[in-house]
């Protein structure tokens, strides 16, 4: 037995444990049944989680094939790999995704604890840096342009406010 699809294999394990945690820990804790209703509010969440767990087992089984099957299909897999370049993870991509998520997170915290303007400036500047913009005048022009545009749109056109 060998893993034929690594991403499906890992996904199935993660999903299986997510299902188990939801069924035994999160659903009982987060849906407190006060009355004995005929159809409880936990019906749909339970159905979903049971099915997700069951399907994750199927996905696991599908992701492991015996050696002969892999060898027979290996030629096709190579071709598909070229077509599905978008589905491959690269180190640089993961790093950028992490940094962009981090800049969004920091902006939220700045917004919550300090000021909306500072949060906006940080969000645009950090996103520019994560995207690899190097020219300072481009970064500054883009940041100023976006913040002014947002100000004009929100405060002048729509008549609303942020913050």
């Amino acid at each position: 037995m060998r893993i034929s699809n690594k991403s499906d294999f890992v996904s199935s394990i993660v999903l299986f444990f997510t299902g188990i945690i939801f069924y035994f820990v999160i659903i009982p804790r987060e849906i407190i049944l006060e009355d004995e209703a005929v159809i409880g509010p936990d019906l749909l969440p339970n159905i979903c989680i049971i099915l997700i767990t069951f399907l994750s087992i199927l996905l696991f089984i599908k992701s492991v094939k015996n050696v002969n099957q892999i060898d027979a299909g290996s030629h096709t897999d190579d071709k598909l790999g070229l077509l599905n370049e978008r589905n491959d993870f690269s180190v640089i991509e993961i790093r950028r995704v992490f940094l962009l998520s981090l800049s969004l997170l920091v902006s939220i915290l700045l917004f919550t604890y300090i000021d909306v303007l500072l949060a906006s400036i940080f969000l645009v500047l950090s996103t520019c840096v994560v995207c690899g913009l190097k020219k300072v005048w481009v970064i500054l022009t883009l940041s100023a342009g976006l913040i002014l545009l947002a100000y004009f749109l929100l405060y002048q056109v729509l008549g609303t406010a942020v913050g």
Binding site: P41, L51, F89, E93, R96, L158
Partner: protein, 492 residues
């Protein structure tokens, strides 16, 4: 058509917003990596400040514009703005390489407008009669139809039936967050007060579509820039007209493409990519000399683009007639309808016929505006495809944050786009259909309600026999899963 309706639709304000929507959509479509889903999701918060008719028409304008615009980058850069424009690139890019870019772009636009226009007419003639039947359905029938739609979409989106079903189930699960209406039980709020009202569709859609797509695009920045550099060196601005001979070649392809796109659009879940590839394949099969395809056959562009654009209006048929979103655009439009206090579905034809007719007329206006804007803006749009994604991503992320703050209940909306952005990124990379997830999320509350009602009215199995429509749809669900599952296994 009444004079009152014409007066309500053909106002300067309404036409300006539709034109702005089409223009914005076109621009977004031209820029590789920004799809119509992203554009519509980010624009929803603006519709809160518009009238229901103007808001919906504006969003539909964006969807139409971006579908047509995605052909530009496919033809010039060999990088489709959306996957559904991939077949356009097969012949469009070779034409562009041969110095016939202008001709290819014009045919792409004309085919798009024709496909879009006739599919809009189909929506107008088909939705109302279907809605009349839908009004006769009870909870048992609604449950079975929703189950069928969701399974069908899950089965057809992506490569794996299992992963499609998991994505749909996660959508349903996330839709249960917040207070349950019947028993007032709070579910999955983790003590966060802002979640008591449930998850708002707008931050979920913005996170899953826009933010996640930007995350995905971060990995391909260098490859896209390489294509843009090549185009910069080769760009030629010769104006070329399509000859009558070429039109004669393209008419059957456009007709076939419109028919394929309209049919595929009505069926939930198939999507524009299936339509454009199918139409392209049929055009190649019907050609006298199929070997021309892939080397710059103009009818290849006509076939793909007419089908691609016909999908947008026809995918609104299930939404208008049954209240079931058949595509990601339809799912996001539900959010816009809800903001405006309108529930899409069969009752809309009874309660707000003026609005429905207004939307139809606005859609026809959008088709005409698409032709005008696309034709006169061709050169500018061609230049826009050279704009670097390094400038686009910060702008999109910034406006995503503002939009979700405005319509997502404050800062919780921004937290949600961060969460669903990461969730959507992994879903996209691992091929768990985000379309199925979103549709599951949108139909979740209705599904839960009708499921509860169905269980209440059919306490035992014999009662089910009184609902033949429900039985048919349940059997169809099983059959579709089995057939599609077997077909996918064969492909793999």
């Amino acid at each position: 058509m009444s004079l009152e309706l014409l007066n309500s639709v053909l106002t300067l304000n309404n036409i300006s917003w539709i034109a702005f929507g089409v223009l914005l959509g076109y621009v977004v479509g031209v820029i590789p990596g920004l799809g119509k889903g992203t554009a519509v999701a980010v624009s929803i918060p603006i519709t809160f400040y518009l009238s229901p008719l103007t808001g919906i028409a504006y969003l539909i304008g964006i969807a139409k514009g971006s579908t047509a615009g995605s052909a530009v980058s496919a033809i010039l850069l060999n990088t489709p703005g959306e996957p559904s424009s991939a077949p356009t690139a097969l012949d469009g890019y070779p034409m562009s390489q041969n110095g016939q870019a202008s001709k290819a772009l014009k045919m792409g636009l004309f085919a798009s407008v024709i496909g879009d226009f006739f599919a809009t007419l189909l929506l107008i003639f088909l939705a109302a009669p279907l809605a009349e039947y839908a009004l006769l359905f009870g909870p048992v029938e609604v449950t079975s139809i929703l189950l069928f739609s969701l399974t069908f979409i899950a089965a057809l989106s992506g490569d794996s039936l299992i992963k499609g079903l998991i994505a749909g189930l996660f959508g349903l699960l996330f839709s249960t967050v917040g207070m349950e209406i019947e028993t007032a039980t709070v579910r999955f709020t983790f003590g966060i007060l802002e979640l008591f009202d449930g998850l708002s569709l707008i931050p979920v859609a913005i996170g899953m579509l826009a933010v996640a797509e930007m995350f995905v695009q971060l990995g391909g920045l260098e490859a896209l820039e390489e294509q843009q550099r090549k185009l910069k060196n080769n760009i030629k601005s010769i104006n070329q007209n399509i000859s009558w001979q070429e039109w004669k070649l393209c008419f059957p392809a456009i007709f076939r493409g419109t028919l394929v796109g309209s049919t595929v659009g009505i069926l939930p879940g198939l999507g524009a990519s299936v339509a454009s590839f199918l139409s392209y394949g049929l055009a190649k099969k019907a050609a006298k000399n199929p070997s021309r395809f892939g080397k710059g056959a103009i009818e290849g562009i006509a076939a793909a683009e007419s089908a691609d654009n016909a999908v947008v209006p026809s995918s609104l048929v299930p939404l208008f007639a049954l209240g079931i979103p058949g595509s990601v655009i339809a799912a996001i439009l539900i959010g816009a309808f809800i903001i405006q206090g309108v529930t899409p579905g069969p009752l809309m034809f009874v309660q707000q016929p003026q609005l429905v007719n207004g939307i139809y007329l606005s859609m026809i206006c959008a088709s005409l505006l698409l032709l005008i804007i696309g034709f006169f803006g061709q050169k500018i749009f061609s230049m826009l495809s050279l704009v670097s994604l390094r400038l686009i991503i910060p702008s999109v992320i910034f406006f995503c944050a503002i939009g979700s703050y405005l319509q997502g209940g404050g800062i919780i909306g921004v937290w949600l786009i961060l969460f669903f952005g990461i969730f959507g990124y992994f879903a996209k990379k691992l091929d768990f259909s985000f379309v199925t997830f979103l549709i599951g999320f949108v139909v979740g509350p209705q599904f839960e309600l009708s499921l509860r009602q169905a269980i209440a009215v059919t306490p035992n199995f014999e009662n089910l026999l009184n609902h033949p429509i429900a039985i048919i749809f349940t059997l169809l669900t099983i059959l579709a899963m089995w057939k599609i599952g077997v077909a996918k296994k064969k492909i793999q």
